[in-house]
Symmetry: C2
Subunit: 235 residues, 2 copies
Amino acid sequence: MTESGKKPAIVLLSGGLDSATVLACALREGGACHTLAFRYGQRHSLELEAASDLSRAMGAASHRTVDIDLSSLGGSSLTGHGEVPKGRSESEIGGGVPTTYVPARNTVFLSFALAWAEVLDASRIYIGVNAVDYSGYPDCRPEFIEAFERMANLATRIGTEGEGLQVVAPLQRLSKSEIIRLGTTLGVDYSRTRSCYDPASDGRPCLRCDSCQLRLAGFAGAGLVDPLLTRFGLA
Amino acid sequence: MTESGKKPAIVLLSGGLDSATVLACALREGGACHTLAFRYGQRHSLELEAASDLSRAMGAASHRTVDIDLSSLGGSSLTGHGEVPKGRSESEIGGGVPTTYVPARNTVFLSFALAWAEVLDASRIYIGVNAVDYSGYPDCRPEFIEAFERMANLATRIGTEGEGLQVVAPLQRLSKSEIIRLGTTLGVDYSRTRSCYDPASDGRPCLRCDSCQLRLAGFAGAGLVDPLLTRFGLA
């Protein structure tokens, strides 16, 4: 419990644009924010470095990177050696479950957040799922988040003995452009965020993978210039 | 899908008495059974060796041990350096949340099982929670298992596109003695299982920790001799 009277919060922070915006939302609510990232067999560590950097720069209370072993269970091009799809149209990106799907990823991530929430006696877990994602990923839909929250309250002391736990998804009904506008209002420095599935060794985004495409379209829709592109002289 | 027409199953197998009985139940139902154990900062590796040994000896289709990093989030004497409570009475063991509680452990374990179920297109996840446990651990109660199953079906392709996923807890309403009688009927070799929280280096159980006490009382109540005690000349 801090002076604000708010219990702490856990914020899932990937180092991407969405979760940086979520951290800004959580900080605005008050209470200490503890950020959590996962090393789960990603192809590169830029995202994880960005998560740690954002946590510090934005004023979170602590940051942890937890190693998890999803890759040993197989099943996704993001953790395996398959090709990352590139140059797909927005309708292709939105259609069906993409091959970059990591099985039950949000369930696994939220479970670790729940464990940490129990240890810290936190009352909120923040996650950056949103409307753009849940066209393809079942574990980004509002009904999944609600079912996880219900389960989480039955699973833990904080749920069964305390005042309960909320799973907060502040971006859930926002488009990418709306997220970028919200984060810009809250002062998020998007030049510190990473989105590309397949960046060059210096961190330069490929601008062709699904994630880069969505980011480009998002900034265009918001009428803003992506400061990451400015940083790499690509704007 | 095997010749029996049954989809595969995932079985959480800790190397203890309960989960060995659950594996026997799952094998009886037919379909390939894939067993899953976790290295999560336990004090000793005997349980994990027992899990791998049981999986092979009982005829499971495959076995995985996944490393997870709960200890980095703190919060329990089973993964930390606190004292394991010893010499407590059965009513003390049943009263309140014990200090050996690992935060959100079953949620984390079931989440990994869910990830693997998605990869293998499995239709059932088996877990050995039971009546003895759920006096103290919130994540052993039937309402938790039901809430996890509901969430799991919203989280995954197998739940949203297929015929759905069941979380099966065949021991849920059984006492320790009833579990031991059931397993004995199904041919479980309990000398291969491990229960002690604090065994000697040769694997000899301490007979004083909560887990040993429950096992002793269970075999006594079933009117059976624990073959593990026979093996160590303790019967």
